[in-house]
């Protein structure tokens, strides 16, 4: 099958999420997408080889990080190159020569291009001989020329200087503007009927929903649903959603009508929120496993909402039986809880997902981490047999960040329900953390997310920064 090249113009955000999103949406629609090394995630332009134009259009309609997509006519690091290729692509554009209205846009990335130079660039394409009228408002065809300059190029300089120091020029015909991107406004937290201080920003909630391959007829679960941010985006793409949280107030808010249902109604997805339940995920009532197509969640890491589970800080001595407590008003009863350390929680979550997911189902969740300490090895402490990491994208906040991890249940075996007794990875030694790695006497790798909460509140200082104690 002959393939055609398409230019993807990415939004300037969340670079690390671009390729995983493309791959997820291609998988969702079941077409092959071979990216290999074609896309450098740090660059805002990517060229894809696809069998059908329809495929790039599907990407543009679903990928949050796509600004626009073009049929690629030429790409080169000099204009001679570009024009030579463009002439060779004549079969792609000659049908527009006779009487198609058109418009030309010239854009620079990391560099602004003066009107005069834009005119010059357009002029240089005149050999294409388009005879239709120029229509700036409603053209039948939009031709785009993009000059990509290296990062750090955006400095004040005389216009004529550096104008040809671009890295690449891309030229092609606009197929579609990315139509999923405006959903970021639709799901804006500030315009939502119900939200809280744990609500996830709209753009990330949408990216997460795409990682789950949400679509009509799928069943997706958020076990730490809070105020429901990802439930709305997931349901928007057609899936049915279940949610649960240890704290009913997070889901309900103050009015009788639960807050999540009010916000869901605002987005027209109320009936796709199948149900919300109050329970501790480590004491859950699920009758069986193999239920969900995906689990999407932002687990508590103790910074804004408590990471907790039912229990007491000190385990009760076995032979002091509890007096049975009559429960007059169950809604009011708040059982005691104990803290839930992040490395134990993350390991439990993956085991739980392996139990609750259907074969091939996905777990999509955030793992907060310390940027300087993070190692790829950190994920080993989270994984279990049968579960495979397929994407790992960093959202960088400076000293810390959070990684959106996508894990696939790569087995059709059924597993027993989890016992929720994953032990926290042993804490790092007080001294010499750095040397620990290569030290054979301490073979256990301590992931950076261990004790994230404590590290967060200490401002991510290394023990050695703390001065004499």
């Amino acid at each position: 099958m002959p393939s055609q090249q398409y230019l993807i113009v990415f939004a300037q955000a969340h670079e690390d999420f671009r390729v995983p999103e493309l791959l997820s949406i291609a998988e969702l629609y079941g077409f092959p997408l071979n990216i290999e090394n074609d896309i450098d995630p740090s660059r805002p332009f990517g060229v894809l080889d696809l069998e059908k134009e329809e495929h790039v259009r599907l990407l543009a309609r679903r990928c949050i990080l796509i600004k626009s997509v073009y049929e690629l006519y030429a790409k080169g690091c000099t204009y001679e190159d570009v024009h030579r290729q463009n002439r060779a692509s004549r079969h792609l554009w000659e049908k527009y020569i006779p009487n198609t209205s058109f418009k030309f846009v010239v854009n620079g990335y990391n560099h602004s291009i003066s009107k005069a130079r834009q005119r010059q660039v357009i002029e240089d394409f005149s050999y294409m001989g388009f005879m239709g009228t120029i229509d700036l408002l409603n053209p039948e065809v939009t031709l785009g020329c993009f000059e990509e300059y290296p990062n750090g190029h955006r400095t004040v300089r005389l216009e004529h200087k550096g104008a040809s120091e671009f890295r690449d020029v891309f030229f092609g015909r606009l197929l579609e503007q990315g139509s999923a991107r405006p959903l970021i406004q639709t799901f804006d937290v500030k315009k939502r009927q119900y939200f809280g201080n744990t609500s996830m920003e709209a753009e990330i909630s949408l990216l997460m929903a795409n990682q789950t391959l949400a679509s009509p007829g799928k069943l997706i679960y958020d076990p730490f649903i809070g105020t429901g941010s990802m439930a709305y985006t997931t349901a928007h793409f057609g899936a049915f959603v279940f949610g649960s949280d240890i704290d009913g107030r997070q889901m309900r808010g103050k009015e009788a009508q639960p807050g999540i249902m009010r916000a869901a109604a605002q987005y027209g997805v109320r009936q796709r929120i199948l149900d919300l339940c109050t329970f501790d995920i480590t004491r859950n009532p699920w009758r069986c496993g193999g239920l969900f197509d995906a689990i999407i969640t932002d687990p508590p890491y103790g910074v804004r909402a408590g990471a907790k589970r039912l229990g007491r800080k000190k385990e009760r001595v076995a032979d002091s039986p509890l007096p049975p407590q009559p429960r007059t008003d169950v809604q009011q009863y708040v059982p005691p809880t104990k803290p839930y350390e992040l490395s134990a929680l993350a390991a439990d979550l993956v085991i739980l997902a392996r139990y609750l997911l259907k074969p091939g189902g996905r777990l999509v969740f955030f793992l907060p981490t310390v940027i300087d300490e993070y190692k790829e090895l950190d994920l080993d402490s989270v994984l279990c047999d049968g579960m495979q990491v397929i994407a790992n994208s960093l959202q960088d906040f400076g000293a810390w960040g959070r990684r959106l991890i996508t894990i696939r249940k790569a087995t059709s075996r059924s597993y027993p329900p989890p016992t929720f007794d994953s032990q926290p990875v042993p804490p790092a030694l007080r001294d010499g953390d750095a040397e620990r790695e290569g030290n054979p006497s301490s073979p256990i790798h301590v992931p950076a997310h261990r004790d994230f909460r404590e590290k967060y509140f200490q401002g991510f200082k290394k023990p050695s920064d703390a001065g004499p104690s």
Binding site: G238, M261, C277, P335
Partner: protein, 123 residues
């Protein structure tokens, strides 16, 4: 909310309560009917997960007798519509779910069931 699809997936999980802990008995229910997306593929895919007897028992407890008592071998269009209605469109907004084994009462308020356990039910 609570829909019967959910009810069909929830078992009592109090400490030591591992047999006869399903289905939870529905009482004092306040019902509402709300339309939902009809998706035959979803229903066919979900059917193998359904505990049929529990679904029949629960639907009769709340006054719906549209489904056949025997688990159907084949799902024709009529049956799919009925199953869709029973699983997804009947909502229990208030009421209780009681464990047939240990008697734990899980209350439903404003459509959200409280499945939390008390301290003495955990250890």
């Amino acid at each position: 909310m609570v829909r019967l699809i959910t009810h069909n997936l929830l078992a009592c999980h109090a400490k030591g309560c591992t047999t006869n802990n399903f289905p939870l008995k529905l009482t004092d229910v306040k019902l509402a009917l709300r339309e939902a997306d009809f998706n035959p593929d979803f229903l066919r895919g979900f059917l193998p997960r359904v505990e049929w007897d529990a679904l029949i028992q629960a639907s009769r407890e709340i006054g719906d007798t549209s489904l056949p008592v025997e688990r159907p071998e084949m799902l024709d269009d009529d049956l799919l519509r009925q199953l869709h209605h029973v699983l997804l469109e009947i909502h229990i907004d208030e009421g209780s779910m009681t464990c047939p084994n240990c008697g734990h009462v899980y209350p439903i308020s404003n459509g959200i069931p409280n499945m939390l356990l008390a301290e003495h039910e955990i250890w």
